[in-house]
């Protein structure tokens, strides 16, 4: 029902979507994130992704379990690419099936928002003149060591 994968290979989006097929579902949504050419005036040649795999898989699974409770989704598959991802290639695919479309759209959006701020995966942006790891200025992961997450997620379920 819930599937997580980190892969060095190209993501087969149709396979990710097929994984959430269910007779119980009236809606399926698949979101794909792709390497964008232009970011803040810089032309990106490619991105490189790195993960702390044990924790990344655990966090992705935890987010899926939360989505089941919050959105009553039927199935979910998340595949994230690692290594070099060229412009136009898919870096992440999130597929969700649900009884109705509202829950499918909402849960896919929620999952992507959470992936971008909670899961230990990092991108390195490479262009003709430089390469740099992206660590968003406004992000403070140290809060994860104070137990904020469980409270925040519990509140959302109330």
């Amino acid at each position: 029902m819930l599937q997580v994968e980190l892969t060095d290979d190209r993501i087969d989006v149709s396979r990710v979507l097929a994984h959430v097929a269910s007779d119980r579902a009236g809606a399926s949504v698949v979101f794909t994130g792709t390497t964008r050419q232009d970011t803040n005036g810089l032309t990106t040649d490619w991105l490189e992704y790195e993960a702390y795999e044990p924790l990344a898989k655990r966090e992705l699974a935890r987010l899926q379990e939360h989505a089941v409770l919050q959105f009553q989704i039927v199935k979910c598959s998340i595949v994230h690419r690692l290594g070099k991802v060229l412009v136009g290639e898919v870096s992440v695919a999130v597929a969700v099936s649900a009884v109705h479309r509202a829950e499918a759209f909402a849960s896919a959006s929620w999952l992507m928002d959470r992936i971008k701020i909670e899961v230990p995966i990092w991108k390195r942006q490479v262009n003709a003149s430089e390469a740099f790891w992206v660590h968003p200025e406004g992000s403070d992961m140290s809060a994860r060591n104070t137990g904020w997450r469980s409270q925040e997620l519990s509140d959302e379920l109330l």
Partner: protein, 94 residues
């Protein structure tokens, strides 16, 4: 100075722990794993030890989480010499 895995550091064996580094934190440190001496086996002390070892990364460390054995830790969690410790700088997946 030991270089078993390309780590930095020279410390008392009984008080040393290994810490995995990732992304820009590893790039700025110049290694993927660092060995540090701790006075107490707590997450908070690991932070202090990393600050002593890598003072130029203090700012990024302050915005990073510490993971123990593949889970985000709480500051007063205890560690041991066999714990898998990792620094998780601000993430950017997706």
């Amino acid at each position: 100075m030991s270089d078993r895995h390309g780590q930095l550091g020279s410390v008392d064996v009984e008080n040393q722990v290994y810490v995995k580094l990732f992304a820009g934190f590893a790039e700025s440190a110049g290694v993927k794993e660092v060995r540090v001496a701790v006075k107490q086996f707590t997450v908070a002390e690991v932070r202090c030890a990393l600050e002593r070892k890598l003072p130029h990364l203090a700012s990024l460390l302050s915005r990073s989480a510490i993971a123990i054995d593949g889970r985000y830790a709480v500051e007063n969690d205890l560690i041991c010499t066999s714990s898998e410790i990792a620094v998780i700088p601000p993430v950017s997946g997706g």
